[in-house]
């Protein structure tokens, strides 16, 4: 048993913090009448609060339900956006398209992280000899962060094949993936740079004074701290990338959203969009929870021995 757990257990036993029955057998402690009265009152208030919350939730839900279903356009809306028939028709195609999104997410995500980190490191290198590298990295991030993704995609996907270079692919998925990497590595590089610059200079100074070289200080002291700090914004960019993988469809590849659009365009029904949207949401939630879990684990490890 660690010190922290012991303290909390003691506390629970002594004052019945949860409002539950107080353990009297141990140490002969008998709560006063006033205390019992106070606890009863508190429990009553809790019950009352729960009831009120439940009631008010129910009323709100009922009102929303009525407003939506009583609107004169509701039958048309339901038929157009929530048709079970079209949902069943769309789901297999949407899932098939989702495979493309996932493949792009995994490959581009990995490439973006590596390239972004390299760019960030290049931008934070010190010393006059690295000036061209720093300038190039800065120009790259400035340009691709500012360039609208859709234009970047159009230029790469239709512009590169138009050059008719030997040995260069015309595959829209490969080209579209490269455009995604170009744009997103610029975003991610800035996130990493912010992380690196947030590490206090004393850390680097301490590392150097221990005899680590500049590179070693970066590798063993600065980067590990920097990466930890930027996990949440990195996840933001990853989720954003996940949604933007669908833009590759501009070149004709069929992803989940596009599969939905094909059905919607043919039969004039919007249900497939709803299906595709839900599939993406369902994909994002586990990703977010997963990162939360990783962050929490990192924090726990850092805080070993209990918080002061």
């Amino acid at each position: 048993m660690t010190y922290g757990e012991g303290v909390s257990k003691l506390r629970t036993a002594r004052d019945g913090a949860d409002g539950g029955p107080v353990d009297r057998a141990d140490d002969g402690y008998v709560p006063s009448k006033r205390r019992i009265e106070r606890e009863r009152f508190r429990r009553a208030r809790t019950r009352r609060a729960t009831t009120v919350a439940a009631l008010s939730t129910l009323v709100t839900a009922a009102v929303l339900y009525l407003v939506i279903t009583r609107s004169p356009g509701w039958p048309r809306t339901r038929e157009t956006f929530f048709s079970a028939e079209y949902a069943a028709k769309a789901l297999p195609k949407v899932l098939e398209g989702l495979l493309l999104n996932l493949r792009l997410l995994v490959v581009c995500g990995a490439a973006v992280l590596v390239l972004g980190l390299l760019l960030a490191v290049a931008r934070t290198l010190r010393g006059p000899v690295f000036f061209p590298l720093r300038a190039l990295a800065a120009a790259y991030t400035d340009f691709f962060r500012g360039l609208p993704l859709i234009i970047c995609l159009l230029m790469v996907v239709f512009g590169v094949p138009a050059l008719r270079l030997q040995g260069v692919t015309t595959d829209p998925v490969l080209l579209g993936g490269s455009a995604l990497v170009l744009t997103y590595s610029a975003y991610v590089a800035e996130v990493f740079r912010a992380g690196i610059e947030s590490v206090h200079p004393s850390q680097r100074a301490a590392a150097r004074s221990l005899g680590l070289s500049s590179g070693q200080a970066l590798r063993f002291v600065v980067l590990p701290q920097a990466v930890r700090r930027v996990v949440p914004p990195l996840l933001n960019d990853l989720v954003s990338l996940q949604k933007d993988t669908g833009l590759v469809s501009i070149a004709g590849a069929v992803d989940a959203v596009y599969a939905a659009q094909i059905i919607a365009g043919r039969d004039f029904n919007f249900t497939p969009y709803v299906v595709a949207g839900l599939v993406f949401v369902a994909l994002t939630i586990p990703m977010t929870r997963g990162t939360d879990w990783i962050t929490a684990r990192m924090d726990r490890r850092r805080a070993q021995g209990g918080l002061v």
């Binding site: 009631l55 008010s56 356009g73 094949p161 015309t170 659009q261 365009g265 043919r266 039969d267 004039f268």
Partner: protein, 293 residues
Amino acid sequence: MRLANRPLRLATCATVALLAAAVGCAPQDESPGGPRAAGQGKQSCDRGKLATVADGKLTVGTDKPAYAPWFQDDDPASGTGFESAVTYAVARQLGYGKDAVRWQTVPFANAFAPGQKKFDFDVNQVSISPARKRAVAFSSGYYDVRQAVTALKGSRAAHAKSIAALRHLKLGAQVGSTSLDVINDTIRPDQPPAVFQKNDLTKSALKNGQVDAILTDLPTAFYITSAEVKDAEVVGQFAATGADEEQFGLVLDKESRITGCVTAAVDALRKNGTLAALEKKWLSDAVSVPVLK
């Protein structure tokens, strides 16, 4: 204990406010020119006095850019190009002069989104189909469509003489088009087709060699090969399949009260030969293109 009642009172107030909002937002009847029920029974097609979105005007929607040969120079109001000419002919038939026609930009997907429409009818090479009729109303068809295959001259695809020969190619078409249906249902190619947002992108992909051949309707194919991708040729067209001949129709709101009038106007134009004359004037002759089987 007076304070303790505050949340309850608040909740009551909130409920009342919510209900009031619900009543306040209760949507009004949205069809133009009075209650919807009144017009359901019989339609009056008095010349120039239809129940249109804007009184005395006929509002017509189409996408932007408006492509040739259906429109010319992306200007629907010019009266040139097949669909522009058909629109003005329909308007005249309904009793609306040239200056009583207003054009509105309506993206393809908006033409069939539920809710109030900002146009009286939409003209955008929309093929009539039973599934689509569940979402919108159509006039009767103003043009019988044939689908056609276009490929770069001298390419493998250009030598295709049959549907079977197309099966091994990478094919491209525009999303929401019946061309895509022909690929999926009639050709059934080995590899999934490339699907593009706009025919401009379809053409780029053909030019770049990212697809072997593209499917469009025949007039568009003629326009592409004559004006836009000059090193391409029309390989062949698909036969019309008997009873369910594909036709373009004018798109109207499902609850529109002028569908009958517009349909009558289109039928009259077909009967008196106007449609055939306009077709001859604006769309190339299809006879020279071999039919793929």
